[in-house]
């Protein structure tokens, strides 16, 4: 077993040549390729990280925008709700007011209708009663009825209480015109004198009189001076009748309105 020094030297040279060749053809290219790939991967990772960061920012931005949008939506919804509520209340108030106005109008209209009805009834009653009464009274008219009318009127004059007398006197004194005596029929001279005397006795003063014949008084007689009136006629009773009828009509209309 000997060492062949020529072979040793040759093998050393061979090995060094192999080192150089492998460095050139194996290690350097492979290491460069690995480095390039690592750099590539690193850059890709970096890019991915930056993209991720960017995406995170975008996400944050979108979340923020979403929150803003939600908030704005909520505000708009609340505003719309408030507005609609306000509008509802306003409309309700308007409707109430309108209903109230219409109710008032209805009441007014009803009242007016009743009033006109009352007037109509009154007029009709007047007309009818007057027609009947006049017909009846004209049929029955006689000296006795007129006398009786004058008697009742005079009786009323005489039975005036103190307050009425004073009121009559004050009215007479404040008036510069004569006392007006209207009657449905012509008063004979004797009855006129009787009336003048009775009035003079009642007020204690001599007065001037003006006598007029007014058929509408319906068998009545009436004495008027400034602000004072004393009368008796069938018309008064007719007025009482009208009043009762009118009150009944109003009561009925009120009942009908409350039901509606």
């Amino acid at each position: 077993m000997q060492i062949d020094w020529f072979t040793v030297v040759a093998q050393i040279l061979n090995f060094l040549i192999l080192v150089g060749l492998l460095r050139r053809f194996l290690y350097q290219p492979i290491l460069n390729a690995i480095d390039a790939r690592e750099k590539k991967i690193a850059s890709q990772l970096e890019e991915a990280a930056s993209k991720k960061e960017e995406a995170e920012k975008e996400k944050e931005l979108f979340l923020h925008k979403n929150e803003d949008f939600d908030r704005a939506k909520m505000e708009l919804m609340k505003k719309a709700h408030d507005d609609s509520e306000q509008k509802r209340l306003q409309l309700l108030e308007e409707a109430r007011n309108e209903a109230s106005t219409m109710r008032t109008q209805l009441v007014k209209t009803t009242m007016e209708a009743h009033h006109s009805l009352k007037q109509e009834i009154q007029e009709k009653v007047h007309r009818e009663v007057f027609a009947i009464t006049q017909k009846m009274l004209s049929d029955l008219a006689s000296m006795d009825l007129e006398d009786q009318t004058i008697k009742v009127f005079l009786g009323r004059l005489k039975t005036l209480n103190e307050a009425e007398k004073r009121q009559f006197l004050e009215a007479f004194q404040s008036s510069s015109t004569p006392i007006l005596v209207r009657s449905a029929f012509d008063l004979p001279e004797k009855k006129r004198e009787e009336i003048e005397q009775t009035v003079s006795q009642v007020i204690g003063v001599q007065a001037h009189f003006l006598f007029k014949t007014v058929p509408e008084l319906v068998s009545g007689i009436e004495l008027t001076t400034k602000g004072y009136k004393l009368a008796w006629s069938i018309a008064e009773y007719l007025h009482a009748l009208e009043k009762n009828i009118a009150e009944t009509a109003i009561e009925k209309s009120k009942t009908v309105f409350d039901k509606t």
Binding site: V9, Q11, N14, F15, L22, F25, Y27
Partner: protein, 224 residues
């Protein structure tokens, strides 16, 4: 029986001669260089690469990591030398599965040549890293009395490297040859398999020891 491929001489002119060791070495060199050049002629730095490139990358990265683990900071500087040691010895030993093949590592001349390369690379890398003075001072550590022992250590470990590899490979080949004469059918196959294992282990041991020696030389300052 020829124990060494050195003894098979093809051409001779005085002192100069070409023997089987050299021819086999050239063949292995050609195989390694041509295959490397063929695979690395169109390397890709993409994520998807060819299988051959992947194999080479695995080998290179493995060697790189091994160097780094032993303690050399920048393995790219040493991979050409240490990696070539491992690949050459490993390939030379693996090829023993071919019939009539005689590994160049079974020649003491080859192992001596490789050991001399390691012997010379230690001061080369040490001086390049730390300077001539610092390297020479390392022989005086821890005291100048240690100088002869350090020198003997340098020589003896180089000798040990050469003889260890030669002994292992030569003995493996010799055992197979002896067994062929005794039990020519089964045992040589088993011993060849064992020889493959031993070959890889020896390649590993040789390159790792070379790395350790170089690492020891360039880490003088750190130790000091």
């Amino acid at each position: 029986m020829k124990l060494s491929p050195d003894e098979t001489v093809f051409w001779e002119y005085g002192y100069i001669h070409i023997n089987l060791t050299m021819v086999t070495t050239w063949a292995l060199m050609a195989m390694m260089v041509i295959s490397s050049g063929w695979i690395t002629r169109n390397l890709k730095s993409d994520i998807r690469i060819s299988r051959w490139q992947l194999i080479l990358e695995i080998i290179v990265i493995m060697i790189n990591n091994q160097i780094k683990e032993i303690g050399l900071e920048k393995p790219e500087r040493y991979i050409a030398f240490i990696g070539t040691l491992f690949l050459f010895i490993g390939l030379a030993n693996i090829c023993m599965i071919f019939p009539f093949y005689q590994a160049p590592t079974g020649s003491l001349s080859t192992t001596a040549g490789l050991a001399i390369c390691v012997f010379l690379s230690v001061p080369y890398y040490g001086i390049r890293k730390n300077g001539l003075l610092a390297y020479l001072q390392s022989y005086l550590k821890p005291t100048f009395i240690m100088l002869p022992f350090n020198l003997i250590s340098e020589v003896s470990r180089t000798l040990a490297l050469a003889v260890r590899l030669f002994g292992n490979i030569m003995s493996g080949g010799m055992i197979v040859a002896i067994l062929l004469t005794i039990a020519p059918f089964i045992f040589p196959v088993v011993m060849s398999m064992l020889g493959l294992l031993t070959g890889i282990v020896q390649a590993y041991i040789f390159s790792v020891l070379a790395t350790v020696y170089i690492a020891a030389a360039i880490r003088i300052k750190a130790i000091a």
